[in-house]
């Protein structure tokens, strides 16, 4: 069984984001990169499948620059068998990334049985790659899953819907599954794992190798800028019981006319 896990490297959640001077992207020099947290659930799920299926092979795939390969190395230190890096310094759109992932999986020479991804990347929050990839591969896909079970040849997944209810899907393989928080508890990469990861193979491919060119771009980023600063909140003095009625109606009024939330 071949399991592919698509991982993205994103800025650490505590990073202070600054757009570049010309607004073409964000400053990346001092960013600490981490594996996209939702992808950690995908890696963990792959490793859980491998645990009950020792013959399974887990390949992690990433599209991005070579300089920081933390996400791939972390995944291998957690237990993935090998890695593919499609190298690019460009800030690609979801379509190009999905196409690059498809190309990388094809180039691996292995037929994918299960492709796991995170439900979204916490940097651009586009929520597109898994679905686009599934369409390109003409495979069934379910996203935002919080439960995963293999029963015979089928896979049963659960996804949370509005109101906390669960939808249950049964899929055959191959398929694309996008994971959400709550699916599992990602393991730590152990220190011996870190040592072992050094010896695991990492294949490097170019965008050309995976058949992606400029003409695949569907979205062009025109500008990166910070959201306007939030105006400071309003404080209402209501310690004097005699004035409390007035204050309340004032607040309710503003919530209606200014904040427009009620």
């Amino acid at each position: 069984m071949n399991i592919f896990v698509c991982v993205k490297q994103v800025p650490d959640t505590e990073t202070k984001i600054t757009p570049t001077g010309d607004g073409s992207f964000i400053e990346t020099a001092s960013i600490k990169w981490i594996m996209n947290p939702y992808d950690e659930f995908a890696v963990e799920q792959a490793l859980l499948i491998k645990q009950s299926n020792p013959a399974a092979n887990v390949t992690v795939v990433r599209v991005g620059p070579t300089k920081d390969t933390e996400a791939l190395r972390t995944a291998m230190a957690m237990g993935a068998d090998d890695a593919i890096l499609v190298e690019t310094n460009e800030n690609l759109d979801s379509y190009s990334i999905a196409k690059a992932l498809k190309g990388a999986i094809a180039k691996s020479g292995k037929t994918a049985d299960i492709i796991l991804t995170g439900k979204q990347a916490i940097d651009d929050d586009a929520l597109q790659v898994p679905q686009v990839l599934a369409e390109m591969l003409n495979l069934p896909s379910v996203s935002v899953i919080v439960g995963f079970e293999v029963s015979g040849n089928a896979i049963k997944v659960k996804r949370e819907i509005e109101g906390g209810a669960l939808e249950v899907y049964e899929l055959g393989t191959p398929c694309v599954i996008a994971c959400n928080k709550g699916l599992n508890t990602p393991r730590y990469a152990s220190l011996p794992g870190i040592m072992k990861a050094k010896k695991k193979p990492m294949t490097q491919l170019s965008l050309t190798d995976v058949g992606v060119s400029d003409s695949d771009r569907r979205v062009k980023y025109s500008q990166f800028r910070l959201p306007p600063e939030k105006p400071p909140g309003k404080k209402f003095e209501a310690t004097d019981p005699a004035k409390q009625n007035d204050v309340v109606s004032q607040v309710v009024g503003l919530l209606r006319t200014e904040a427009k939330v009620i």
Partner: protein
């Protein structure tokens, strides 16, 4: 000259940071308050390979260098100095076996620590002898086909949970240093009596007790080296362990610095964040300077150890400077937090209490200066 960590060391640090953040910091305050032994954290840290960093790979360990181990210990102490004392005590206890043990002893006593979670204690200090360790009074008597230990030990970290004790005693107090000998003692041996858990100022999650040895029989083959080799082994152990203890102070100091920076930007007085007041800025600058200097000394002491270069002098610089700095830095952190710093609701008062111990154990700051002077004025 190269001051950078290897890729692997950076990954190790990353993992240890994550562990400290998720598994230690959220529990540190409560465990301190209640004096809870961090058994879950200890086990998890063992599973990830953070414990027993001194065990060489031929005996099942990860084969970490001294620099690797200070990288780990600094990151874990950032999470909680008290929990890190419990973790580190395993290394302190096993180091004498790594340094002076035979292959058989290493196989028999080190390897099991890599196969399952076990706890060890280092027993040198006695009620009457701390700094003057050469004068210990625990007697090791030759019982023919075994040794017999009699005596009391004091302030023994992990004692209440230990599977193994490494015990220092003397074959004859009149011989002074030349009589000191070290024995590997299994905790299940008959005649070991544990004292009650000490109610301490800081490091309250670590377990510290007195231990009495009443006619405890130990197999002949459990002596590390020959009778009288103990002092030499203890001194080499310190060369390895002092950088480790220094790194614990370093981790605590870094935490105090980070918290101080954060708080000084959030707390407003006189219409500006207190970080805008020069008096606060200078305290923070001083902290940063000391943390960086302590780190350089600590890493150098570990690096010398890895190079096989005698590090006694630098290891003492590192241990004294890092722990004295940690005390100053954590005290200033409380100052920067003002009244809130004095409350248990905030994390810095614990740092200040925890810092104090590192100036005391593994050779007090005064004893470190004795060592330095002895090395300098030969």
């Amino acid at each position: 000259m190269d001051f950078s960590l290897t890729t692997e060391q950076r990954e190790i640090r990353e993992l240890a940071n994550k562990f400290a953040k998720n598994e230690m910091i959220p529990y540190a305050q409560e465990y301190d308050e209640r004096g809870t032994f961090p058994i879950d954290q200890f086990k998890k840290a063992w599973e990830l390979g953070f414990i027993n960093t001194c065990i060489p790979s031929e005996f099942g360990g990860s084969g970490f260098s001294s620099v690797d181990s200070v990288v780990i210990s600094e990151a874990l102490a950032y999470g909680c100095m008290g929990m890190n004392t419990a973790f580190m005590a395993n290394d302190l206890a096993l180091l004498p076996i790594v340094i002076g043990g035979t292959t058989e002893q290493k196989k028999k006593y080190l390897t099991p620590f890599t196969q399952e979670f076990k706890i060890a204690s280092f027993c040198l200090t006695e009620p009457g002898n701390g700094s003057d360790a050469g004068g210990i009074k625990t007697i090791i008597k030759d019982g023919g086909d075994h040794w017999i230990i009699n005596g009391s030990k004091m302030w023994i970290t992990n004692a209440g949970y230990a599977d193994l004790f490494v015990v220092y005693g003397t074959i004859d107090p009149a011989l002074k240093h030349k009589g000191i000998s070290a024995l590997i003692v299994e905790a299940k041996s008959e005649g070991i009596e544990l004292g009650k858990k000490e109610d301490k100022m800081g490091h309250r999650s670590s377990d510290t007790r007195g231990v009495r040895f009443n006619n405890v029989k130990v197999p002949k083959e459990n002596m590390i080296g020959k009778p009288g080799d103990g002092w030499g082994i203890a001194m080499s152990t310190l060369d390895h362990s002092r950088p480790l203890v220094a790194s614990s102070a370093l981790g605590g100091a870094q935490r105090a610095l980070d918290l101080s920076i954060q708080y000084s930007k959030e707390r407003n007085q006189f219409g500006v964040p207190i970080a805008k007041h020069q008096a606060i800025q200078f305290m923070i600058a001083e902290m940063g300077m000391k943390v960086e200097a302590a780190r350089l000394l600590t890493y150098k002491a570990a690096w010398l150890c890895d190079q096989g270069i005698r590090n006694t002098e630098v290891a003492s610089y590192a241990k004294a400077f890092a722990s004295d700095s940690c005390m100053q830095i954590t005290t200033d952190a409380v100052q920067i937090y003002g009244g809130y710093g004095y409350s248990k609701e905030y994390p810095v008062e614990k740092l200040m209490r925890d810092a104090k111990l590192i100036q005391i154990y593994e050779g007090t700051s005064q004893i470190q200066r004795l060592v330095m002077a002895r090395e300098l004025i030969k």
